[in-house]
Protein backbone atom coordinates (compact mmCIF):
# COMPACT_ATOMS: atom_id res chain seq x y z
CA UNK A 1 0.00 0.00 0.00
CA UNK A 2 1.27 3.44 -0.92
CA UNK A 3 0.93 5.68 2.09
CA UNK A 4 2.21 9.17 2.55
CA UNK A 5 2.51 10.97 5.86
CA UNK A 6 3.96 14.33 6.67
CA UNK A 7 6.60 15.42 9.12
CA UNK A 8 8.65 18.53 9.49
CA UNK A 9 12.30 18.59 10.34
CA UNK A 10 12.39 21.42 12.75
CA UNK A 11 16.02 22.24 13.25
CA UNK A 12 16.68 25.91 13.81
CA UNK A 13 13.24 27.20 12.87
CA UNK A 14 11.41 25.18 15.53
CA UNK A 15 13.82 26.50 18.10
CA UNK A 16 13.25 30.03 16.88
CA UNK A 17 9.51 29.65 17.02
CA UNK A 18 9.69 28.25 20.50
CA UNK A 19 11.91 31.09 21.55
CA UNK A 20 9.39 33.51 20.05
CA UNK A 21 6.76 32.11 22.35
CA UNK A 22 8.79 31.37 25.44
CA UNK A 23 5.90 31.58 27.82
CA UNK A 24 3.87 28.92 26.10
CA UNK A 25 6.78 26.56 25.42
CA UNK A 26 8.79 26.91 28.55
CA UNK A 27 6.21 27.47 31.23
CA UNK A 28 3.69 24.83 30.32
CA UNK A 29 5.60 22.49 28.04
CA UNK A 30 2.26 22.25 26.46
CA UNK A 31 2.52 19.61 23.74
CA UNK A 32 -0.71 20.87 22.28
CA UNK A 33 0.89 24.25 21.66
CA UNK A 34 3.91 22.63 20.05
CA UNK A 35 1.65 20.60 17.87
CA UNK A 36 -0.24 23.71 16.86
CA UNK A 37 2.99 25.42 15.85
CA UNK A 38 4.08 22.34 13.95
CA UNK A 39 0.83 22.34 12.04
CA UNK A 40 1.21 26.01 11.22
CA UNK A 41 4.72 25.47 9.90
CA UNK A 42 3.51 22.46 7.95
CA UNK A 43 0.80 24.58 6.36
CA UNK A 44 3.31 27.29 5.49
CA UNK A 45 5.72 24.84 3.87
CA UNK A 46 2.92 23.38 1.80
CA UNK A 47 1.90 26.81 0.62
CA UNK A 48 5.54 27.44 -0.25
CA UNK A 49 5.79 24.18 -2.15
CA UNK A 50 2.64 24.98 -4.03
CA UNK A 51 3.96 28.39 -4.98
CA UNK A 52 7.23 26.90 -6.23
CA UNK A 53 5.88 23.92 -8.12
CA UNK A 54 2.48 25.16 -9.17
CA UNK A 55 -0.96 24.41 -7.81
CA UNK A 56 -1.69 21.83 -10.51
CA UNK A 57 1.37 19.78 -9.49
CA UNK A 58 0.79 19.79 -5.74
CA UNK A 59 -2.68 18.33 -5.52
CA UNK A 60 -3.66 17.07 -2.10
CA UNK A 61 -0.15 15.85 -1.49
CA UNK A 62 -1.00 14.94 2.07
CA UNK A 63 -3.75 12.57 1.09
CA UNK A 64 -2.97 8.94 1.78
CA UNK A 65 -3.70 6.90 -1.27
CA UNK A 66 -3.78 3.24 -2.02
CA UNK A 67 -3.25 2.07 -5.53
CA UNK A 68 -4.70 4.57 -7.93
CA UNK A 69 -6.44 7.02 -5.64
CA UNK A 70 -8.71 9.84 -6.65
CA UNK A 71 -5.79 12.21 -7.17
CA UNK A 72 -3.95 9.77 -9.37
CA UNK A 73 -6.89 9.31 -11.65
CA UNK A 74 -7.55 13.01 -11.95
CA UNK A 75 -7.03 14.59 -15.34
CA UNK A 76 -4.54 17.38 -14.91
CA UNK A 77 -4.74 20.09 -17.42
CA UNK A 78 -1.56 21.47 -18.82
CA UNK A 79 -1.09 25.15 -18.16
CA UNK A 80 -2.22 26.73 -21.34
CA UNK A 81 -0.75 29.77 -22.91
CA UNK A 82 1.96 31.42 -24.85
CA UNK A 83 5.56 30.30 -25.21
CA UNK A 84 8.12 32.83 -26.39
CA UNK A 85 11.71 32.43 -27.50
CA UNK A 86 14.11 33.71 -30.06
CA UNK A 87 17.60 33.93 -31.47
CA UNK A 88 19.70 36.23 -33.55
CA UNK A 89 23.12 36.82 -35.03
CA UNK A 90 25.41 39.59 -36.23
CA UNK A 91 28.11 38.89 -38.79
CA UNK A 92 31.22 40.75 -39.85
CA UNK A 93 32.89 39.59 -43.07
CA UNK A 94 36.33 40.79 -44.11
CA UNK A 95 37.23 39.72 -47.63
CA UNK A 96 40.72 39.29 -48.98
CA UNK A 97 41.76 41.93 -51.48
CA UNK A 98 42.68 39.41 -54.11
CA UNK A 99 41.41 36.11 -55.43
CA UNK A 100 43.30 32.85 -55.70
CA UNK A 101 44.65 33.91 -59.09
CA UNK A 102 45.81 37.24 -57.61
CA UNK A 103 43.22 39.24 -59.46
CA UNK A 104 41.47 41.87 -57.32
CA UNK A 105 38.53 40.38 -55.46
CA UNK A 106 36.45 43.53 -55.73
CA UNK A 107 34.52 42.56 -52.62
CA UNK A 108 33.63 45.05 -49.91
CA UNK A 109 33.82 44.13 -46.27
CA UNK A 110 30.45 44.18 -44.55
CA UNK A 111 28.76 43.90 -41.22
CA UNK A 112 25.21 42.74 -40.93
CA UNK A 113 22.43 42.18 -38.42
CA UNK A 114 21.81 38.91 -40.19
CA UNK A 115 18.84 37.67 -38.25
CA UNK A 116 16.60 38.53 -35.36
CA UNK A 117 14.01 35.85 -34.73
CA UNK A 118 11.05 35.58 -32.44
CA UNK A 119 9.42 32.27 -31.64
CA UNK A 120 5.85 32.32 -30.50
CA UNK A 121 3.93 29.21 -29.57
CA UNK A 122 0.57 28.58 -28.05
CA UNK A 123 -0.51 25.43 -26.30
CA UNK A 124 -4.22 24.86 -26.74
CA UNK A 125 -4.08 21.57 -24.86
CA UNK A 126 -1.66 18.72 -24.15
CA UNK A 127 -2.21 17.51 -27.69
CA UNK A 128 -2.81 20.61 -29.76
CA UNK A 129 -0.33 23.42 -30.11
CA UNK A 130 0.76 26.15 -32.47
CA UNK A 131 4.38 27.05 -33.09
CA UNK A 132 5.86 29.83 -35.19
CA UNK A 133 9.02 31.70 -36.02
CA UNK A 134 9.08 35.21 -37.44
CA UNK A 135 12.35 36.33 -38.91
CA UNK A 136 13.73 39.81 -39.43
CA UNK A 137 16.73 39.70 -41.74
CA UNK A 138 19.44 42.26 -42.48
CA UNK A 139 18.33 44.96 -40.11
CA UNK A 140 15.82 46.94 -42.07
CA UNK A 141 13.34 46.45 -44.87
CA UNK A 142 14.33 49.92 -46.10
CA UNK A 143 17.82 48.66 -46.92
CA UNK A 144 17.36 45.26 -48.44
CA UNK A 145 16.22 43.43 -45.34
CA UNK A 146 13.10 41.35 -45.08
CA UNK A 147 10.53 40.02 -42.70
CA UNK A 148 9.40 36.45 -43.15
CA UNK A 149 7.41 33.80 -41.40
CA UNK A 150 9.95 31.01 -41.23
CA UNK A 151 7.51 28.47 -39.93
CA UNK A 152 4.01 28.48 -38.56
CA UNK A 153 2.28 25.18 -37.98
CA UNK A 154 -0.31 23.39 -35.90
CA UNK A 155 0.49 20.09 -34.18
CA UNK A 156 -1.93 17.43 -33.11
CA UNK A 157 0.12 15.06 -30.96
CA UNK A 158 -1.90 11.90 -30.78
CA UNK A 159 0.78 9.65 -29.31
CA UNK A 160 4.52 10.00 -28.77
CA UNK A 161 4.96 7.86 -31.83
CA UNK A 162 2.53 9.74 -34.00
CA UNK A 163 1.44 13.31 -34.41
CA UNK A 164 0.02 15.33 -37.26
CA UNK A 165 1.45 18.64 -38.37
CA UNK A 166 0.17 21.16 -40.87
CA UNK A 167 1.12 24.65 -41.97
CA UNK A 168 4.32 26.33 -43.07
CA UNK A 169 6.90 23.72 -42.08
CA UNK A 170 10.67 23.40 -42.22
CA UNK A 171 11.77 20.64 -44.58
CA UNK A 172 13.27 18.04 -42.24
CA UNK A 173 16.63 17.62 -43.98
CA UNK A 174 20.22 17.80 -42.76
CA UNK A 175 21.26 19.50 -39.55
CA UNK A 176 20.77 23.19 -40.03
CA UNK A 177 17.47 23.50 -41.79
CA UNK A 178 15.61 22.76 -38.58
CA UNK A 179 18.15 23.67 -35.89
CA UNK A 180 20.17 26.73 -36.78
CA UNK A 181 20.47 28.88 -33.68
CA UNK A 182 24.04 30.19 -33.89
CA UNK A 183 25.21 29.02 -30.44
CA UNK A 184 24.27 25.43 -31.34
CA UNK A 185 26.69 24.90 -34.21
CA UNK A 186 30.28 25.63 -35.09
CA UNK A 187 31.14 28.10 -37.81
CA UNK A 188 30.31 31.75 -38.37
CA UNK A 189 28.44 30.91 -41.55
CA UNK A 190 26.48 27.83 -42.51
CA UNK A 191 28.19 25.21 -44.66
CA UNK A 192 27.51 25.74 -48.36
CA UNK A 193 26.19 22.19 -48.68
CA UNK A 194 23.41 23.10 -46.27
CA UNK A 195 22.79 26.34 -48.10
CA UNK A 196 22.74 25.31 -51.74
CA UNK A 197 21.87 21.59 -51.93
CA UNK A 198 19.77 21.52 -48.78
CA UNK A 199 18.70 25.12 -49.22
CA UNK A 200 18.31 26.11 -45.59
CA UNK A 201 16.28 27.70 -44.34
CA UNK A 202 13.89 25.77 -46.57
CA UNK A 203 10.25 25.97 -45.63
CA UNK A 204 7.11 25.22 -47.57
CA UNK A 205 3.44 24.73 -46.88
CA UNK A 206 2.43 21.17 -46.21
CA UNK A 207 1.03 18.48 -43.95
CA UNK A 208 2.63 15.44 -42.44
CA UNK A 209 3.41 13.37 -39.42
CA UNK A 210 6.10 13.12 -36.82
CA UNK A 211 7.02 11.13 -33.75
CA UNK A 212 9.50 9.04 -31.85
CA UNK A 213 9.56 5.34 -31.20
CA UNK A 214 12.19 3.70 -29.07
CA UNK A 215 15.52 5.04 -30.33
CA UNK A 216 14.24 6.56 -33.53
CA UNK A 217 12.66 9.88 -34.44
CA UNK A 218 11.01 10.64 -37.74
CA UNK A 219 9.21 13.35 -39.64
CA UNK A 220 7.51 13.01 -43.03
CA UNK A 221 5.62 15.74 -44.85
CA UNK A 222 3.87 16.41 -48.10
CA UNK A 223 4.85 19.92 -49.18
CA UNK A 224 4.57 22.11 -52.23
CA UNK A 225 7.43 21.49 -54.64
CA UNK A 226 10.28 23.76 -55.70
CA UNK A 227 9.85 26.22 -58.51
CA UNK A 228 12.50 25.28 -61.07
CA UNK A 229 12.58 28.79 -62.52
CA UNK A 230 14.72 29.71 -59.51
CA UNK A 231 17.36 27.01 -60.03
CA UNK A 232 20.78 28.23 -61.09
CA UNK A 233 24.33 27.05 -61.64
CA UNK A 234 25.98 28.68 -58.65
CA UNK A 235 23.11 28.92 -56.18
CA UNK A 236 21.88 25.40 -56.82
CA UNK A 237 18.33 24.81 -55.61
CA UNK A 238 18.31 27.77 -53.28
CA UNK A 239 16.23 30.20 -55.29
CA UNK A 240 13.75 27.46 -56.12
CA UNK A 241 12.29 27.69 -52.63
CA UNK A 242 8.84 29.20 -52.49
CA UNK A 243 8.69 30.05 -48.77
CA UNK A 244 4.93 29.72 -48.58
CA UNK A 245 4.55 33.02 -50.40
CA UNK A 246 1.63 32.45 -52.78
CA UNK A 247 3.54 29.37 -53.87
CA UNK A 248 2.84 27.62 -57.13
CA UNK A 249 1.19 24.35 -56.16
CA UNK A 250 1.01 22.43 -59.41
CA UNK A 251 3.62 20.00 -58.07
CA UNK A 252 4.05 18.58 -54.60
CA UNK A 253 6.86 16.63 -53.07
CA UNK A 254 7.44 14.25 -50.20
CA UNK A 255 10.18 14.87 -47.68
CA UNK A 256 11.14 12.88 -44.63
CA UNK A 257 13.88 11.91 -42.26
CA UNK A 258 14.75 9.21 -39.77
CA UNK A 259 17.30 9.68 -36.99
CA UNK A 260 18.75 7.25 -34.52
CA UNK A 261 18.77 9.01 -31.15
CA UNK A 262 19.27 6.05 -28.83
CA UNK A 263 22.61 7.22 -27.45
CA UNK A 264 22.66 10.70 -25.89
CA UNK A 265 25.04 12.93 -27.78
CA UNK A 266 24.94 10.78 -30.90
CA UNK A 267 22.77 11.41 -33.94
CA UNK A 268 22.81 9.22 -37.04
CA UNK A 269 20.29 9.90 -39.71
CA UNK A 270 19.20 10.25 -43.25
CA UNK A 271 16.65 12.33 -45.08
CA UNK A 272 15.25 12.59 -48.59
CA UNK A 273 13.03 14.74 -50.76
CA UNK A 274 11.34 13.76 -53.99
CA UNK A 275 9.02 15.80 -56.20
CA UNK A 276 8.58 17.67 -59.44
CA UNK A 277 9.62 21.30 -59.71
CA UNK A 278 8.17 22.36 -63.05
CA UNK A 279 5.01 23.80 -61.49
CA UNK A 280 3.18 23.52 -64.78
CA UNK A 281 5.62 25.61 -66.78
CA UNK A 282 5.80 24.98 -70.54
CA UNK A 283 8.84 25.03 -72.75
CA UNK A 284 9.22 28.24 -74.74
CA UNK A 285 10.18 26.18 -77.80
CA UNK A 286 7.37 23.68 -77.38
CA UNK A 287 4.40 25.20 -75.51
CA UNK A 288 2.61 21.87 -75.50
CA UNK A 289 5.45 20.35 -73.40
CA UNK A 290 5.14 20.72 -69.64
CA UNK A 291 8.43 20.71 -67.74
CA UNK A 292 8.57 17.98 -65.12
CA UNK A 293 11.92 18.78 -63.48
CA UNK A 294 11.79 15.88 -61.06
CA UNK A 295 14.00 16.77 -58.14
CA UNK A 296 15.57 14.35 -55.69
CA UNK A 297 17.68 15.30 -52.67
CA UNK A 298 19.28 12.91 -50.22
CA UNK A 299 21.47 13.41 -47.24
CA UNK A 300 23.23 11.26 -44.68
CA UNK A 301 24.41 12.87 -41.47
CA UNK A 302 26.16 11.97 -38.24
CA UNK A 303 27.02 13.89 -35.12
CA UNK A 304 28.90 13.16 -31.91
CA UNK A 305 28.62 15.74 -29.17
CA UNK A 306 30.05 14.59 -25.87
CA UNK A 307 33.01 14.90 -23.50
CA UNK A 308 34.02 18.22 -24.99
CA UNK A 309 33.98 17.04 -28.59
CA UNK A 310 31.62 18.39 -31.22
CA UNK A 311 32.01 16.36 -34.38
CA UNK A 312 29.71 16.53 -37.35
CA UNK A 313 29.63 15.18 -40.90
CA UNK A 314 27.11 15.44 -43.69
CA UNK A 315 26.89 14.23 -47.29
CA UNK A 316 24.20 15.55 -49.60
CA UNK A 317 23.41 15.06 -53.26
CA UNK A 318 20.64 16.11 -55.55
CA UNK A 319 19.58 15.11 -59.01
CA UNK A 320 17.41 17.04 -61.42
CA UNK A 321 15.62 15.44 -64.36
CA UNK A 322 14.93 17.54 -67.44
CA UNK A 323 17.83 19.85 -66.59
CA UNK A 324 18.16 20.89 -70.24
CA UNK A 325 14.50 21.90 -70.27
CA UNK A 326 14.97 23.85 -67.06
CA UNK A 327 17.89 25.64 -68.76
CA UNK A 328 15.66 26.57 -71.66
CA UNK A 329 12.92 27.66 -69.30
CA UNK A 330 15.36 29.90 -67.43
CA UNK A 331 17.24 31.10 -70.51
CA UNK A 332 20.51 29.51 -69.36
CA UNK A 333 23.20 28.57 -71.84
CA UNK A 334 26.70 27.09 -71.81
CA UNK A 335 28.27 27.10 -68.37
CA UNK A 336 25.17 28.74 -66.87
CA UNK A 337 23.45 25.36 -66.83
CA UNK A 338 21.72 24.15 -63.72
CA UNK A 339 23.35 21.10 -62.25
CA UNK A 340 21.87 17.79 -63.31
CA UNK A 341 23.58 16.45 -60.24
CA UNK A 342 24.91 18.38 -57.25
CA UNK A 343 27.15 16.93 -54.60
CA UNK A 344 28.47 18.33 -51.37
CA UNK A 345 29.87 17.15 -48.07
CA UNK A 346 31.65 18.43 -45.04
CA UNK A 347 33.37 17.22 -41.93
CA UNK A 348 33.94 19.42 -38.93
CA UNK A 349 35.23 19.01 -35.44
CA UNK A 350 35.84 21.09 -32.36
CA UNK A 351 36.96 20.51 -28.81
CA UNK A 352 36.21 22.48 -25.67
CA UNK A 353 39.58 23.40 -24.22
CA UNK A 354 37.86 24.71 -21.08
CA UNK A 355 36.23 21.38 -20.41
CA UNK A 356 38.37 20.72 -17.36
CA UNK A 357 37.34 23.99 -15.71
CA UNK A 358 34.24 24.52 -13.65
CA UNK A 359 31.53 26.87 -14.86
CA UNK A 360 29.56 27.02 -18.06
CA UNK A 361 32.16 28.72 -20.28
CA UNK A 362 33.28 26.87 -23.37
CA UNK A 363 36.02 27.65 -25.85
CA UNK A 364 36.10 25.42 -28.88
CA UNK A 365 38.75 25.73 -31.56
CA UNK A 366 37.28 24.08 -34.64
CA UNK A 367 38.02 23.19 -38.21
CA UNK A 368 35.77 22.31 -41.11
CA UNK A 369 36.57 20.90 -44.53
CA UNK A 370 33.92 21.13 -47.22
CA UNK A 371 33.61 20.28 -50.88
CA UNK A 372 30.64 21.20 -52.99
CA UNK A 373 29.92 21.17 -56.68
CA UNK A 374 26.59 22.55 -57.84
CA UNK A 375 27.36 21.35 -61.36
CA UNK A 376 28.70 17.90 -60.60
CA UNK A 377 26.93 16.83 -63.79
CA UNK A 378 25.30 19.03 -66.43
CA UNK A 379 23.11 17.94 -69.36
CA UNK A 380 24.56 17.20 -72.77
CA UNK A 381 25.29 20.32 -74.74
CA UNK A 382 26.21 22.35 -71.67
CA UNK A 383 29.41 22.81 -69.74
CA UNK A 384 30.20 23.14 -66.07
CA UNK A 385 31.71 26.33 -64.71
CA UNK A 386 34.84 25.27 -62.79
CA UNK A 387 34.12 28.07 -60.30
CA UNK A 388 31.22 26.01 -59.00
CA UNK A 389 33.47 23.17 -57.90
CA UNK A 390 34.47 24.60 -54.54
CA UNK A 391 36.55 23.64 -51.55
CA UNK A 392 36.34 25.57 -48.32
CA UNK A 393 38.63 25.10 -45.34
CA UNK A 394 37.44 26.86 -42.20
CA UNK A 395 39.44 27.24 -39.01
CA UNK A 396 38.39 29.25 -36.01
CA UNK A 397 37.14 29.25 -32.46
CA UNK A 398 33.82 29.56 -30.70
CA UNK A 399 33.53 31.07 -27.25
CA UNK A 400 30.35 30.41 -25.31
CA UNK A 401 30.36 32.36 -22.05
CA UNK A 402 27.08 30.58 -21.41
CA UNK A 403 25.23 28.05 -23.54
CA UNK A 404 22.85 30.69 -24.92
CA UNK A 405 25.50 33.04 -26.29
CA UNK A 406 28.33 32.51 -28.73
CA UNK A 407 31.09 34.62 -30.16
CA UNK A 408 32.71 32.90 -33.11
CA UNK A 409 35.57 33.90 -35.34
CA UNK A 410 37.04 31.95 -38.21
CA UNK A 411 39.08 32.24 -41.36
CA UNK A 412 37.93 30.58 -44.56
CA UNK A 413 40.25 29.52 -47.32
CA UNK A 414 38.00 29.38 -50.36
CA UNK A 415 39.23 27.76 -53.54
CA UNK A 416 37.69 26.49 -56.74
CA UNK A 417 38.81 25.00 -60.00
CA UNK A 418 38.63 28.38 -61.72
CA UNK A 419 40.94 29.81 -59.06
CA UNK A 420 38.55 32.65 -58.35
CA UNK A 421 38.04 31.88 -54.68
CA UNK A 422 38.28 34.71 -52.16
CA UNK A 423 39.36 34.05 -48.61
CA UNK A 424 37.53 35.74 -45.79
CA UNK A 425 37.67 36.43 -42.07
CA UNK A 426 34.36 36.26 -40.22
CA UNK A 427 33.18 37.20 -36.75
CA UNK A 428 29.75 36.19 -35.53
CA UNK A 429 27.90 37.14 -32.36
CA UNK A 430 24.86 34.98 -31.69
CA UNK A 431 22.29 34.40 -29.00
CA UNK A 432 19.24 32.32 -28.25
CA UNK A 433 16.65 32.26 -25.54
Amino acid sequence: MFRMVAKARWGGLAASLLMAAPAAAQETTDTAEIRRLQEQVEAITRELEELRLGREVVVQADTSISGLGPAASKVYKTPQGVSIGGYGEFLYENFAGSREDDAPSGLTDRIDAVRAIIYVGYKFSDKVLFNSETEFEHGSTEDGGSVSVEFAYLDYRIRPEFGLRGGLVLAPMGFLNEIHEPPTFLGTVRPETERLIIPSTWREVGVGMFGERKSFAYRAYLINGFDATGFSADEGLREGRQDGAEAAAQNFGGVGRVDYIGIPGVTLGTSAYFGNSGQGASLPSAPETTVGAQTFIWDGHAEYKARGFELRGLLALSTLDDAAEVNELNGLTGAESVGERMLGWYLQGGYDVLRGRSGPQQLLPYVRYEQINTQDEVPDGFTADPANNRRIVTAGAAWRPMPNISLKADYQIVSNEAETGVNQLNVNLGYLF
Binding site: F2, R3, M4, V5, K7, A8, R9, W10, G11, A14, R35, Q38, E42, T45, E49, L53, G54, E56, V57, V58, V59, I65, S66, G67, G69, A71, A72, Y76, P79, S83, I84, K127, L129, R157, I158, R159, P160, E161, I179, E181, P183, T184, L222, G253, G254, I261, P264, G265, F274, E303, K305, R355, S358, G359, P360, Q362, M402, P403, N404, F433
Partner: protein, 190 residues
Protein backbone atom coordinates in the same frame (compact mmCIF):
# COMPACT_ATOMS: atom_id res chain seq x y z
CA UNK B 1 5.18 11.46 -57.04
CA UNK B 2 1.44 12.08 -57.12
CA UNK B 3 -0.31 13.64 -54.17
CA UNK B 4 -2.46 10.57 -53.72
CA UNK B 5 0.47 8.18 -53.66
CA UNK B 6 2.19 10.27 -51.03
CA UNK B 7 -0.97 10.61 -48.95
CA UNK B 8 -1.55 6.86 -49.12
CA UNK B 9 1.97 6.26 -47.85
CA UNK B 10 1.45 8.67 -44.97
CA UNK B 11 -1.87 7.09 -43.97
CA UNK B 12 -0.45 3.57 -44.21
CA UNK B 13 2.47 4.55 -42.01
CA UNK B 14 0.13 6.17 -39.52
CA UNK B 15 -2.06 3.10 -39.33
CA UNK B 16 0.98 0.92 -38.74
CA UNK B 17 2.13 3.13 -35.88
CA UNK B 18 -1.28 3.53 -34.30
CA UNK B 19 -1.76 -0.20 -34.23
CA UNK B 20 0.65 -0.85 -31.39
CA UNK B 21 1.58 2.48 -29.83
CA UNK B 22 0.62 3.43 -26.27
CA UNK B 23 -1.27 6.67 -25.69
CA UNK B 24 0.43 9.99 -24.88
CA UNK B 25 1.67 10.05 -21.32
CA UNK B 26 -0.25 12.56 -19.23
CA UNK B 27 1.68 15.07 -17.21
CA UNK B 28 2.16 13.89 -13.66
CA UNK B 29 1.05 15.30 -10.35
CA UNK B 30 3.36 15.16 -7.37
CA UNK B 31 1.48 12.18 -5.96
CA UNK B 32 1.52 10.26 -9.19
CA UNK B 33 5.24 10.81 -9.58
CA UNK B 34 5.88 9.61 -6.03
CA UNK B 35 3.73 6.57 -6.57
CA UNK B 36 5.60 5.71 -9.76
CA UNK B 37 8.94 6.04 -8.00
CA UNK B 38 7.95 4.29 -4.81
CA UNK B 39 5.24 1.75 -5.55
CA UNK B 40 3.52 -0.16 -2.76
CA UNK B 41 4.35 -1.30 -0.18
CA UNK B 42 6.61 1.71 0.21
CA UNK B 43 5.64 4.41 2.66
CA UNK B 44 6.41 8.01 1.84
CA UNK B 45 6.97 10.66 4.45
CA UNK B 46 6.96 14.33 3.67
CA UNK B 47 9.61 16.29 5.52
CA UNK B 48 10.82 19.84 5.42
CA UNK B 49 14.33 21.03 6.06
CA UNK B 50 15.24 24.55 7.13
CA UNK B 51 18.76 25.32 6.04
CA UNK B 52 20.95 27.70 7.95
CA UNK B 53 22.83 30.41 6.07
CA UNK B 54 26.02 28.42 6.39
CA UNK B 55 24.35 25.27 5.01
CA UNK B 56 22.87 27.28 2.16
CA UNK B 57 26.26 28.74 1.30
CA UNK B 58 27.77 25.27 1.30
CA UNK B 59 25.03 24.00 -0.98
CA UNK B 60 25.64 26.91 -3.33
CA UNK B 61 29.34 26.16 -3.45
CA UNK B 62 28.67 22.49 -4.14
CA UNK B 63 26.10 23.17 -6.86
CA UNK B 64 28.34 25.60 -8.71
CA UNK B 65 27.78 29.12 -9.94
CA UNK B 66 25.61 28.07 -12.88
CA UNK B 67 23.13 26.16 -10.67
CA UNK B 68 21.82 28.78 -8.26
CA UNK B 69 20.45 27.58 -4.92
CA UNK B 70 18.00 30.05 -3.47
CA UNK B 71 15.72 28.09 -1.19
CA UNK B 72 16.41 27.61 2.49
CA UNK B 73 13.11 25.82 3.08
CA UNK B 74 13.19 22.50 1.25
CA UNK B 75 10.40 19.95 1.28
CA UNK B 76 11.32 16.41 0.32
CA UNK B 77 9.79 12.96 0.42
CA UNK B 78 11.55 10.03 2.09
CA UNK B 79 10.43 6.56 1.07
CA UNK B 80 10.88 3.52 3.26
CA UNK B 81 9.99 -0.10 2.87
CA UNK B 82 9.79 -2.21 5.96
CA UNK B 83 11.43 0.62 7.85
CA UNK B 84 14.45 0.72 5.57
CA UNK B 85 15.03 3.82 3.40
CA UNK B 86 14.68 3.22 -0.33
CA UNK B 87 15.06 6.75 -1.61
CA UNK B 88 14.22 10.40 -1.32
CA UNK B 89 12.40 12.52 -3.87
CA UNK B 90 12.96 16.22 -4.41
CA UNK B 91 10.88 18.47 -6.62
CA UNK B 92 12.54 21.31 -8.46
CA UNK B 93 10.91 24.00 -10.55
CA UNK B 94 13.07 26.05 -12.87
CA UNK B 95 13.02 28.00 -16.11
CA UNK B 96 13.91 26.30 -19.38
CA UNK B 97 13.63 29.05 -21.98
CA UNK B 98 10.99 31.48 -20.82
CA UNK B 99 8.71 28.95 -19.14
CA UNK B 100 9.20 26.58 -16.24
CA UNK B 101 9.50 22.83 -15.93
CA UNK B 102 9.04 20.80 -12.76
CA UNK B 103 11.20 17.74 -12.18
CA UNK B 104 11.14 15.02 -9.58
CA UNK B 105 14.66 13.84 -8.82
CA UNK B 106 14.95 10.67 -6.78
CA UNK B 107 18.16 10.03 -4.86
CA UNK B 108 18.98 6.64 -3.35
CA UNK B 109 20.44 5.89 0.08
CA UNK B 110 23.82 5.73 -1.66
CA UNK B 111 23.39 9.41 -2.66
CA UNK B 112 23.16 8.49 -6.35
CA UNK B 113 20.45 9.70 -8.70
CA UNK B 114 17.94 6.91 -9.18
CA UNK B 115 15.27 8.46 -11.34
CA UNK B 116 14.08 11.70 -12.92
CA UNK B 117 10.50 12.42 -13.90
CA UNK B 118 9.16 15.45 -15.71
CA UNK B 119 5.99 16.66 -14.01
CA UNK B 120 5.44 19.82 -15.98
CA UNK B 121 6.96 21.12 -19.16
CA UNK B 122 5.49 24.23 -20.72
CA UNK B 123 7.92 24.82 -23.59
CA UNK B 124 7.19 23.33 -27.04
CA UNK B 125 7.22 19.52 -26.92
CA UNK B 126 10.26 19.17 -29.20
CA UNK B 127 12.35 20.47 -26.31
CA UNK B 128 10.85 18.01 -23.80
CA UNK B 129 13.56 15.83 -22.22
CA UNK B 130 13.42 12.32 -23.61
CA UNK B 131 13.31 9.36 -21.22
CA UNK B 132 16.43 7.87 -22.78
CA UNK B 133 18.28 11.11 -22.33
CA UNK B 134 17.21 11.48 -18.69
CA UNK B 135 18.39 7.95 -17.96
CA UNK B 136 22.02 9.01 -18.30
CA UNK B 137 21.77 10.85 -14.96
CA UNK B 138 21.06 7.63 -13.08
CA UNK B 139 23.98 6.56 -10.92
CA UNK B 140 25.51 10.03 -10.78
CA UNK B 141 26.54 11.68 -7.54
CA UNK B 142 27.43 15.33 -7.09
CA UNK B 143 30.80 15.47 -8.79
CA UNK B 144 32.49 17.81 -11.28
CA UNK B 145 31.76 15.25 -13.98
CA UNK B 146 28.03 15.89 -13.56
CA UNK B 147 27.85 18.62 -16.19
CA UNK B 148 27.51 19.08 -19.91
CA UNK B 149 31.25 19.68 -19.96
CA UNK B 150 31.69 16.37 -18.18
CA UNK B 151 29.94 13.10 -18.78
CA UNK B 152 26.42 14.42 -19.43
CA UNK B 153 25.58 14.62 -23.11
CA UNK B 154 23.31 17.32 -24.42
CA UNK B 155 20.06 16.42 -26.08
CA UNK B 156 20.30 17.21 -29.77
CA UNK B 157 18.39 20.34 -30.64
CA UNK B 158 17.51 21.14 -27.04
CA UNK B 159 20.48 22.96 -25.53
CA UNK B 160 18.42 24.95 -23.06
CA UNK B 161 16.60 21.87 -21.80
CA UNK B 162 19.88 20.01 -21.40
CA UNK B 163 21.31 22.83 -19.35
CA UNK B 164 18.19 23.32 -17.26
CA UNK B 165 17.94 19.66 -16.28
CA UNK B 166 21.65 19.33 -15.53
CA UNK B 167 21.60 22.42 -13.34
CA UNK B 168 18.52 21.13 -11.55
CA UNK B 169 20.17 17.81 -10.73
CA UNK B 170 23.28 19.58 -9.43
CA UNK B 171 21.14 21.87 -7.28
CA UNK B 172 19.13 19.00 -5.81
CA UNK B 173 22.19 16.91 -5.04
CA UNK B 174 23.84 19.90 -3.36
CA UNK B 175 20.76 20.36 -1.16
CA UNK B 176 20.61 16.62 -0.53
CA UNK B 177 24.16 16.70 0.77
CA UNK B 178 23.18 19.31 3.39
CA UNK B 179 19.83 17.85 4.37
CA UNK B 180 20.84 14.28 5.34
CA UNK B 181 17.34 13.04 4.55
CA UNK B 182 17.76 9.49 5.75
CA UNK B 183 18.56 10.55 9.30
CA UNK B 184 15.59 10.26 11.70
CA UNK B 185 13.45 13.38 11.97
CA UNK B 186 14.82 15.79 14.55
CA UNK B 187 11.51 16.12 16.28
CA UNK B 188 8.20 14.38 16.19
CA UNK B 189 5.84 15.58 13.56
CA UNK B 190 2.09 15.69 13.57
Amino acid sequence: MSIWATCSSLVAGAALLLGSAPPLRAQLSLEEALQAAFPPPAEVERRTAFLSSAALDSARADAGSDAPVDQSVVSYYVATRGGAPVGVAYFDSHRVRTLNEVLMIVVGPDDKVRRIEVLRFAEPPEYHPRDGWLAQFEGHTLAPDLSLKGSIRAMTGATLTSNAVTRSVRRVLALHRRIHPFAPAASTGP
